[in-house]
Point group: C2
Chain length 354, copies 2
DNA sequence: AGTAATTTTGTAATCGATTACCTGAAATTT
DNA sequence: AAATTTCAGGTAATCGATTACAAAATTACT
């Protein structure tokens, strides 16, 4: 029953003794075709199990109806959620989503971009890798005239739209929340400062301290990779300080978790002795026995909006390159790891605060 | 600098005053072309920034070099990990991975299959939705002669390869482990029995009970959807029994977590009073303060092997349809929620056990 | 009826690359 | 020197669908 030899419009045209053009027009419901032939063609097409070969169409039209999404790893909750948002917005418009991973490696990133451009993709969505400094490979996308939309991790490139979350605000909100819980020596775990997202969270943190007249202690800020062990190690280091912190705002959830685990080992009470806030709102943060406060980046919405930006760009007149920057507002999810519920904590560092 | 008007082999042929055939052959390193022209063509192609239009190639060859992956939701850890495995195995072979979601809805599933077949996909990987009973839409894939590989959730269809995990064994191992911890009244949270994975886990559970001469109590087996609240509700119901269970083997991690949360509320000691084992080894299970024992399905390996099966099928002579069934061995990750560390628990139900 | 206007359908080029088959020239053989 | 190979490259068909332009068939109108 294998009909690998698929039916084409020529097969139909031969069978009906009409031209392929007529068949094509009938199938596309062209007004130039009489109702009777239209019906006949449609019926025959159905009978012969005709399927339009979209490759031929793509070649003719120059549109593949495929878009590429490039992320570091697809099995990270954040990225797969963004992709879900993109897929759900684009599928109804007839697009298919091709996924590519970079493994945080700029060379893979360049290869993936090239491979995608080769396949006549209609657009690219990407979150750059940590190791991306030089952006020539990305510039090529623009030079080709292929729409490009950054999400979350972007680079400043003229003519490229981007959908991000307000990381500065996220950092500010998290820090402000900690201050309002009575914390005064707030440590910060930052990430790779090559990425804007981390510098922005860091800046938000500093701005909140300033806003509330809280001194900034450089020794409380550390670069911590986004792994549990790194968080635990970072906390251990912090604990060697004479004056220990009474809060941690981490730019990631995994290392926040590592810090919490280490604190437990040290029998430090959370949130009484120290409050902890993470970033990303990974599913596990709310599942914990001690749920972790975190900043939600609304990834699925981010994907949906990135897709909308792309569609606008495609469907709008491509006379001028549109460069749209959408910044989403993050949401602080307050949970037990930092919620003192109004209870005033008699902590040394608070007494010291002016 | 927008060169949307991409260079074709004709542009090169015109510039060099040779035929397009020569250019094509030179680019493909055909032995019919002299070294000198080859070099010239290659150089010119580079200068003109030539990119092969793979759509044209695809149309000519009938191979799109795209495969489709159909899953319920891509932002579930299990599925995104499988997809990662597929992507990493297939990318080096020049394939691109298109992702599609079904939202556990058989109608979406059928639509996605049709859309993929329309685009001349070279193969389909899928995990069927919970609501898939009738499989006519899947049969169409085979009838078209398109390679199809099921992973995890499969249906019995002649000629379709499948890569799964040994769910029976997983269920058996989990239950056996609980028995060895001294548990004798083991409850089971099952899932939608329309899916083989759940019936197999259930069968594994029953087989283990039988093997160790432990009575099977129907009232301890419940259908529980894979949500936290469902797990909590199921536990509450179990707790209305005169004789309460001393262990739970859940076919999912989320509802196992829900049960644990409910047990905490009831101040039941885990693992002393009751042991809990989940299934899937979701990341959160090992992050908990009380880490949850679970069965790992090695999703990334599953994806990699599914891709290998596909490649074999494609590259092997397609004279006869190969139907390959690969069954992976799951891994039991024993954690605190069920690890009594050899301690004998003096529990009523144990005393009752013969 | 004869011509113009309109409707319906056909012809052939096109999208870009590949390739079976053919040709002309140089190299080799006898 | 004539005949035969070999080499390098050209011609044109092909993959399947669309569409500008041309042509035929039908209808309308005087």
């Amino acid at each position: 029953m294998k009909d690998k030899d698929k039916t084409t419009i020529y097969d139909i045209s031969k069978k009906l003794n009409v031209s392929a053009a007529t068949v094509s027009r009938a199938l596309n419901d062209s007004p130039k075709i009489s109702a009777s032939t239209k019906e006949l063609v449609l019926k025959t097409a159905r009978e012969m199990n005709y399927k339009q070969n979209r490759l031929a169409l793509a070649l003719k039209s120059g549109k593949s109806n495929n878009v590429g999404v490039i992320v570091p790893y697809i099995n990270r909750n954040f990225f797969s959620s963004v992709i879900r948002g993109i897929e759900e917005e684009l599928t109804p418009h007839g697009y298919h989503v091709i996924i590519c991973q970079t493994h945080e490696n700029v060379e893979f990133e360049a290869e993936q971009i090239n491979a995608l451009l080769d396949t006549q993709i209609d657009g690219i969505f990407m979150s750059v890798s940590k190791t991306t400094v030089n952006t020539d490979h990305i510039q090529k996308v623009i030079d080709q005239g292929t729409p490009l939309v950054f999400f979350d991790r972007k680079k400043e490139i003229a003519g490229v739209s981007a959908v991000t979350v307000d990381d500065f605000k996220g950092g500010f909100m998290a820090t402000e929340h900690l201050i309002k819980q009575g914390c005064r020596r707030i440590a910060h775990f930052s990430g790779d400062l090559n990425l804007e997202i981390y510098t922005n969270r860091y800046e938000g943190y500093k701005a909140a301290l300033k806003r509330y007249d809280i001194p900034y202690y450089p020794e409380l800020v550390m670069m911590v990779s986004s792994k549990i062990e790194s968080g635990a190690a970072a906390l251990a280091k912090l604990w060697e300080l004479k004056e220990k912190p009474d809060a941690i705002f981490s730019a990631g959830d995994h290392n926040a978790l590592g810090a919490i685990q280490e604190l437990r080992r040290k029998n430090v009470k959370i949130p009484d002795d120290i409050c902890v806030v993470g970033f990303s709102n990974e599913p596990f943060t709310k599942y914990m026995e001690l749920p972790i406060t975190s900043v939600d980046q609304t990834p699925q919405i981010m994907g949906k909006i990135a897709a909308e930006v792309f569609l606008e760009q495609i469907e709008g007149k491509q006379t001028l390159t549109i460069e749209k920057k959408v910044v989403l507002t993050p949401e602080l999810c307050i949970r037990a790891s930092s919620d003192r519920k109004g209870k005033i904590v008699n902590h040394a560092s608070i007494l010291k605060a002016k």
